[in-house]
C-alpha cells in the first residue's frame, strides 16, 4: 500500500517537475535576439562605453561588442517588443552608426533593416540619361565614428552614389548622378548630424551631443 502511494507521489513530483521545467524553458526562450552591425568602432573606450550604457537597460542580457567585426549583440525580453527603430535610435544616440540591424524574435520571426545608406540614391535623370560627377567638401571630424556618421549623412541625399571622408585631410569626396549638384544639401545634412563643413556649421547642442572621441576642433567663421 505504502509502495503504491510512494509511486503515485513520485509520479506527481515528476509531472510537476516536467511542467515547471517546460514553463521555465518557455520563460527562458522569451527573449528577442538583437544583432547590430555598427560602423566606426575603433576607440575601445567608446565601444566599451556603448556596451556599458546598454547594460543599464532593465532586462537586457548578454550584451557584447566585438570590436573586430563591429557586431553588437544583446537579448531583450520579448514582452517588451523593442522595435527596430527604437534600437537604431538608441545606437545613434550613443554616437554610433548602425549599418544593419536584425532582430530574431522569440517566436522565430526575423526583422531586418539596412541598406539605408543607399536609400536616397537615384541613378538617373528624369529623361533617363545618367550623368556621373564628383565633388569634394571639407568636413571637420576626428575619428572613425565621425567618418561613419559623415559618410552616412552624405549618402542619405538623393543622387549621391558614393561618399568617402578622409580622416587626415578632412576632405569628403562625393560621387553623384543627376541634374543637380547635391553638395549644398549634403553639407546641410552633415551639419545637421553634428559636423561643421566649409559651408555650414553644426548647432552647438548637436555638437555637444557627439561622443567624446568625436569632439573635433570646430571650423572657425
Amino acid at each position: 500500500m505504502k509502495n503504491i502511494q510512494l509511486k503515485q507521489w513520485g509520479k506527481a513530483i515528476f509531472l510537476a517537475l516536467v511542467i515547471f521545467g517546460a514553463q521555465a524553458a518557455t520563460a527562458q526562450k522569451a527573449m528577442d535576439q538583437f544583432k547590430i552591425q555598427v560602423d566606426g568602432l575603433g576607440c575601445p573606450f567608446c565601444a566599451y562605453g556603448l556596451e556599458k550604457k546598454f547594460k543599464e537597460f532593465k532586462g537586457i542580457k548578454q550584451v557584447a561588442i566585438d570590436i573586430e567585426t563591429g557586431n553588437f549583440t544583446f537579448e531583450y525580453p520579448a514582452e517588451k517588443a523593442l522595435t527596430l527603430e527604437a534600437v537604431v535610435k538608441q545606437v545613434e544616440k550613443a554616437g554610433y552608426t548602425p549599418v544593419t540591424t536584425m532582430i530574431t524574435r522569440a517566436d522565430g520571426q526575423v526583422e531586418e533593416s539596412g541598406g539605408e545608406l543607399a536609400s536616397g540614391n537615384s541613378g538617373s535623370m528624369d529623361n533617363g540619361e545618367t550623368v556621373a560627377s564628383q565633388a569634394t567638401l571639407k568636413v571637420a571630424g576626428n575619428c572613425e565614428m565621425c567618418q561613419a556618421r559623415i559618410e552616412k549623412a552624405a549618402k542619405s541625399i538623393a543622387g549621391v552614389t558614393a561618399a568617402s571622408w578622409d580622416k587626415k585631410t578632412k576632405i569628403l569626396t562625393l560621387d553623384w548622378t543627376g541634374k543637380e549638384n547635391p553638395l549644398d544639401q549634403v553639407s546641410q545634412q552633415i551639419a545637421a548630424v553634428g559636423h561643421d563643413t566649409e559651408k555650414h556649421k553644426a548647432a552647438q547642442e548637436t555638437y555637444e551631443g557627439l561622443p567624446a572621441c568625436c569632439y573635433y576642433e570646430r571650423i572657425q567663421d
Binding site: F45, K52, N142, C143
Partner: protein
Amino acid sequence: MNVFKTNRLMKNLKKSSLAILLPGLLFFGLMGCQQEDVPHEWQLVRTIALDSINPIGLAESNGKIWLSDGDHNRVVLYDLTSGPVRVVDGLDRPMHIAAVSESLFVPQYGNDKVEEIGATGRKEMILPDSLDAPAGVDVLGNQQAIADFYNNRILFFDGNEWIVFGKEGKAAGEFYYPTDVQLTETEIYVADAYNHRIQVFDKAGKPLRMFGKEDKMNATTGIFVGPEAVFATDFENDRVLVYSPGGERLQILEEGIEKPTDMIQLQDKLYIANYRKAELLEYGWLPVKTTPEKQ
C-alpha cells in the same frame, strides 16, 4: 658601470706597470665621455606580434609585462622572450593596470570595480564612492589613484584618506574623460583623453601644469612617466609624444605605431601597446641616426 669595469681591469693587471695602465684608463675615460655626448633618441627596434591579445594597458612585473586585453576580458602576463606565461580571465573590460611586487591592480570599465590580483587570489579594492567606468589605476607605496572616466574625476588615496578632484570641463583641473593616471613621489599625472592633453597635479589635487594640447593630439589615451621623460599616446593620430616633465616636447614617435593605448619604459627600452594590431613595439634609446643631409 665604468667603475665596475675599471676594478676588474685592475685585478687582472695587478702586475702591470702603472705606466701602461694609466694611459689606458685615460683613453677609456675619454671614450666614455664621448659616448655620453652623442645625442640619443627613441628608435623602433622590433615589433612583437601578440597573437590575438589586443593590449590596452601595460605594467611591469619582475621583467615581464602584464597586458590588459579589454577586448577579450582578461589580463596576460607576457615574457618578452617566450610569450604568454599566465592568463587571468573573467574580467570585465580591464583597462590601464598597475603592478606592485606580486600584485596586479585592474580597473574594470564594464563593472565599475578595481580588483587586486595577487599570487594567492583576487580581491576587490575598497573605494570611498562608486565609479563609472574606471579606466586607469596606479599604485605607489601605500598611495593609490584611479581615473574615473564617466565621472570626469580622479580618486587619490594618500595613505590615510581618499581625496577626489576634477569635474567635466576644459579649464585647468577639469577633465573630459580621463583615461589614465600615474603617481610620482610628488605629483599626479593624468591623461585627460578628450581634452587632448596631460594634466599634472600636486597630491592635494591642485592643478600645477598641463601640456600636449598644442601638439593637436586626438585622444590622449595613455600616459607613462619615466625617469627622464613623460610619454603620451596620441590614439587617433597613431603617435607617441615624448615630453620633459615640464612639458617641453622632446620627440614624436610614429614608426610602426597604430592606435596606441599605453607604453612602459624598462631601462633603455620603451614598449608601446599597438591596440588595434595586437602588437607590442620595442623602441630603443639609441644614437641619433645621421642622414647624408644632416652630415
